[in-house]
């Protein structure tokens, strides 16, 4: 999926480059500020830039029909290949026949004008310098930057575990606060009858979904990072998860370890008093294997 987003972005970029190069052919240099402004608005502006390119092409005298066709064709690849093939009909046909695979290529080839380009691979690699993650702007140019990114990844995964923990704590607080006298509030999906009002329950669930959203986003970003097949990144995603779970995950024993009955017992035992009789406790721990 990250690939497709990258392809989409490179499409927008190359369309812009196409347009500006054409404009440069006809009108002279274009200042970079307008280019960077355009780059911010990439995906929605594809059609617009295509039109700009078309207009530029009309002005330039050396490109004719082929260029026009290319901007009219809605396949994303065509625009990209145009920068490679110097606007000929054959190049156009090729671009339609290529699959979306060639997206990455294009980012490589079209950015060769710059000092350095993103190194991308769909196979396991250990790139450090010139690796790019998620956006082109996250371009590793030095070792320090790479180390910083690695630390960022570790802390992101630790923060993910912290947010998961936060959700668990929120749920516990919810149970404690709104289901008095019984811990069996919501098992088997039964709603809380004597619990909070409907509006409050909706609000609480909204808060829970906010927690869920954050987890979802961070987990997705982690997945996108892993999809660069970079050995270091995957390794340190692993490390971040390890440290995060080590620090924040000790409270999950009771849930995974036991059936719901057992969990309830543990909660009750712990809530009532601490030094509970161990024999009574061990009676209530069935071996569910």
């Amino acid at each position: 999926m990250s690939f497709f987003s990258a392809a989409k972005q490179s499409l927008g970029n190359s369309l812009i480059k196409l347009g500006t190069s054409m404009a440069q052919n006809s009108q002279g240099p274009v200042d970079d500020s307008s280019l960077s402004q355009l780059e911010n608005l990439l995906p929605p502006l594809q059609i617009l830039t295509a039109r700009a390119a078309m207009a530029a092409m009309n002005m330039s005298n050396d490109t004719s029909m082929s260029g026009m066709n290319m901007t009219n064709s809605t396949t994303p690849m065509s625009g990209m290949n145009m920068t490679n093939s110097t606007t000929s009909m054959s190049g156009m046909n090729m671009s339609n026949s290529t699959t979306s695979m060639s997206g990455m290529n294009m980012t490589n080839t079209t950015t060769t004008a710059k000092a350095s380009s993103c190194k991308l691979s769909m196979y396991w690699n250990w790139y450090t310098i010139d690796a790019c993650f998620i956006t082109k702007h996250w371009h590793i140019t030095s070792k320090h930057m790479f180390v910083g990114s690695i630390f960022g990844i570790i802390f992101m995964m630790m923060a993910l575990e912290l947010v998961r923990r936060g959700q668990r704590e929120f749920d516990r607080w919810c149970v404690r606060r709104f289901s008095p006298a019984s811990n069996s509030c919501c098992h088997s999906g039964a709603p809380v009858h004597s619990g909070p009002s409907m509006a409050l329950r909706i609000f609480l669930h909204f808060l829970r979904s906010c927690f869920y959203l954050v987890q979802y986003i961070v987990a997705y970003i982690a997945m996108l990072l892993a999809m660069y097949y970079n050995g270091y990144v995957i390794l340190f995603l692993f490390c971040g998860t390890f440290f995060g779970y080590f620090l924040f995950g000790a409270d999950t024993i009771s849930t995974k370890a036991s059936s719901s009955v057992q969990t309830k017992t543990i909660v009750q035992v712990a809530d009532e008093k601490h030094e509970h009789d161990s024999s009574q406790y061990s009676d209530t721990t069935p071996t569910t294997e």
């Binding site: 690939f3 497709f4 110097t86 054959s90 190049g91 090729m94 026949s97 290529t98 699959t99 695979m101 990455m104 490589n108 991308l120 691979s121 196979y123 396991w124 959700q167 668990r168 749920d171 516990r172 919810c174 149970v175 509030c185 919501c186 709603p191 829970r208 997945m223 892993a226 999809m227 097949y229 995603l237 692993f238 998860t241 390890f242 779970y245 080590f246 995950g249 000790a250 409270d251 999950t252 024993i253 009771s254 849930t255 995974k256 370890a257 036991s258 059936s259 969990t263 309830k264 543990i266 909660v267 035992v269 712990a270 809530d271 601490h274 161990s278 406790y281 061990s282 721990t285 071996t287």
Partner: protein, 173 residues
């Protein structure tokens, strides 16, 4: 730009950047659904499949990898159960009580280290399976899923009554 090079770029795609290696055959890859057998690569360029036998071996390996992931989660649950059984009903004591709920089962640092290692290994192996599936190879995807299915069938019979994910309004987890 020559026509032939353009057509080649469609096939070799992202491998282009490093396709100048000396080996005779290059990895065939596609970001769309495919049923490649020969010259398909999973995960790394070095995992290059030349023959049908190698492919069969790889597919079986992927299958058992997916089974093993489910087995690992069973090991996690069993270890947690072991911790509960050996805690004798004790809960966390000392300054850790500030950071953990009072109902947390007593767990030592080493136990928690092992738990974290298992948890992150689970994450790592699931990520690697995801990367293998990202080859979009029909066989790999199919056998990866079947492996997860069989693995759940074999190893997850102890999860009755526990919801698969933490949903529901106030499940006390």
């Amino acid at each position: 730009m020559s026509l032939s090079k353009m057509s080649m770029s469609g096939m070799s795609g992202m491998g282009m950047g490093s396709s100048s290696n000396s080996s005779a055959a290059t990895c065939r890859m596609s970001m769309l659904w495919n049923w490649y057998i020969h010259d398909s690569c999973f995960l790394a360029k070095s995992w290059h499949i030349n023959t049908g036998n190698k492919f069969a071996g790889s597919i079986i390996g992927i299958f058992f990898f997916a089974v093993a992931i489910e087995g690992l989660s069973l090991v996690q649950r069993m270890f947690d159960r072991w911790i509960v059984a050996h805690s004798n009903g004790k809960t966390l004591s000392g300054p850790l009580r500030i950071f953990f709920p009072s109902s947390t089962v007593h767990v030592t640092v080493w136990q928690q280290l092992i738990r974290a290692a298992m948890y992150s290994s689970f994450y790592l192996s699931a990520t690697i399976l995801m990367l293998i599936v990202m080859s979009f190879n029909g066989y790999a995807i199919l056998f990866g899923f079947v492996g997860a299915w069989i693995g759940f069938f074999l190893f997850a019979s102890d999860t009755y009554g526990t919801p698969s994910t933490g949903t529901g309004c106030c499940e006390s987890r």
